[in-house]
Amino acid sequence: MTRIKQHRLSLPARSEDIAKLAPGEIVYFDGIVYTAREGVYERVLGQGGALPVENLSAISNVNFHCSPAAAPDGETYRIGGVTATASFRFSKWMADWLDLTGTKIVIGKGGMPREDYEKILAPRGAVYLTTVGYGTGALLGRGVKGVEAVHWLDDLGIAQAMWMFRVENFGPFIVDSDLTGASLFALQGDIVNQRIASLYDGLKPPALHRYGETDDRKKEVM
């Protein structure tokens, strides 16, 4: 197995450090990472609400698409597992969110739609990182050393609230996109796609042609 390059970044991440990240490399973080997903985006961008923190990017410029398994524990919170949620659903908010907050690193599951890397992330000096295997909740939970703050918990609930995590050696994450807009997922997907047609060779056509088996909605099922 080839050796995979690893980075350890202090947050907020500096642009020269972000520029060094290449698709397929591994990253760990120290500092503050915040969570935001549809509940937060809708509140701020949909309804025009103010950010709960001033100068967010001076504290953290890493947006984790995440809902923690968390529970109140006296004055603070106990964080069990931490795992990403699928990011493509948040595509429509990303451009405005990056502009508003100065966020430079987006972490999530599954990457963004292909065109987003070049059109939305790269022009704003931002990159996308993916969690590993989507289930390394315990490793990431270990990296969370405390809850710096949690915003809108009562209104949005545990899963949608904006959590500010103080993290140490928080990872591993895999670099998906770089500052040129190149994407590991896109690259790997292209290689996988080359073989797909041949997998169906020799299989007879389906008896019924329905949506799901065809995109042509004028076509009759028989």
Binding site: A71, G137, L139, R142, I174, Q188
Partner: protein, 321 residues
């Protein structure tokens, strides 16, 4: 008499065990796949997952923060004596709410329209409780499964003329669609439901994925052969963990069949993810609880084909006479 308090204790404990401790059969399966994996990135992901399982067990924290939709499968022995069945369901709901706070589990359950969250994974039709029965025994088995639910499962009505080719086509469609970028969190235990009515087909496929262990084969030799054939189809796609180039798509393939409409062949596919969370408790008649990770759900009785159990199993007939 098996008391509700004992049932709640067992259910509470398996909630934590399922969320934290990866079942041994699945762990062994994943470790075996690392050696065979052809893609570097996919192999890296599998190694990180193994470290993650170890961290979860050491720290007693959930292996994945998306602790899925916790649910129960209950098997009641013919000779088990209980205080009442609604009380069992209440105990299971109570255990779910308590475990959600204490483990903690993520309170994933929300109303489908209003998105309101009780913050305890209890609500309308939640957690699901599926019941089955077992002849001749006096225990109760309670299994919990914590499975995600957004990506990786699908259903299609096929027809007899579609045959095995149709099943393969549907399997490929589903695994490729949800395998890209790893939305299905492969390599997975894949369950295929064949036949039954539509809802039974979905149910059988899900149970096949979640309630049978890696290495288990269907007792029908031809179905067992098809399981291995479909496993090869899945691992031949050229996709590994997270949709990266590789060969690790399927840790094991399980098929369950149900007699179906003469004109149709419904099929469902379910993927039980890299955090294949299940745990079982057996509550004996004296109230003692024994824990394990093999649900042993598909007993010979569950797969009976004839009117009565005794006809299919003369030994059982002898025992009960």
């Amino acid at each position: 008499m098996i008391h509700h308090t004992v049932i709640e204790e067992a259910a509470y404990n398996i909630m934590a065990k399922a969320a934290i401790d990866i079942p041994e059969d699945y762990l062994t399966g994943i470790k075996g796949m690392i050696d065979l994996e052809t893609g570097d990135l996919s192999a890296f992901v599998l190694k990180a997952m193994v470290e993650n399982y170890e961290a979860a067990t050491e720290d007693r924290r959930p292996m994945c923060a998306d602790t899925g939709l916790p649910r129960y499968y209950v098997k009641v022995g013919d000779k088990a004596r209980v205080e009442g069945f609604t009380g069992i369901e209440r105990a299971l709901r109570s255990a779910t709410a308590r475990a959600t706070h204490d483990v903690p589990l993520r309170p994933n359950r929300v109303h489908p329209l209003w998105r309101t969250d009780h913050n305890n994974n209890v609500g309308l039709n939640a957690p699901e409780v599926e019941w089955s029965f077992e002849p001749e025994v006096d225990w109760i088995d309670i299994t919990t499964v914590h499975k995600g639910g957004l990506f990786g499962s699908d259903y299609r009505m096929l027809f007899p003329g579609d045959g095995i080719d149709g099943i393969k086509r549907f399997l490929l469609d589903t695994l490729i669609a949800f395998g890209k970028r790893g939305l299905a969190c492969q390599p997975a235990i894949i369950g295929v439901g064949l036949g039954g009515s539509k809802d039974t087909c979905m149910q059988l496929g899900k149970q096949a994925a979640c309630l049978r262990v890696v290495g288990d084969r269907n007792p029908d030799p031809k179905v067992a052969e098809l399981e291995l054939e479909l496993k090869d189809v899945a691992n031949g796609i050229g996709m590994g963990a997270m949709g990266f180039v590789g060969s690790s798509m399927c840790v094991d393939m399980h098929i369950e069949c149900g007699h179906t409409h003469t004109g149709g062949m419904p099929v469902s596919v379910h993927t039980f993810c890299l955090s294949s969370r299940r745990a079982t408790a057996r509550i004996h008649a004296d109230g003692k609880i024994a824990y394990r990770t093999d649900p042993n759900w598909f007993t010979p009785y569950m797969r009976r084909e004839t009117v009565g159990w005794e006809e299919a199993n003369p030994a059982a007939a002898e025992m009960s006479s």
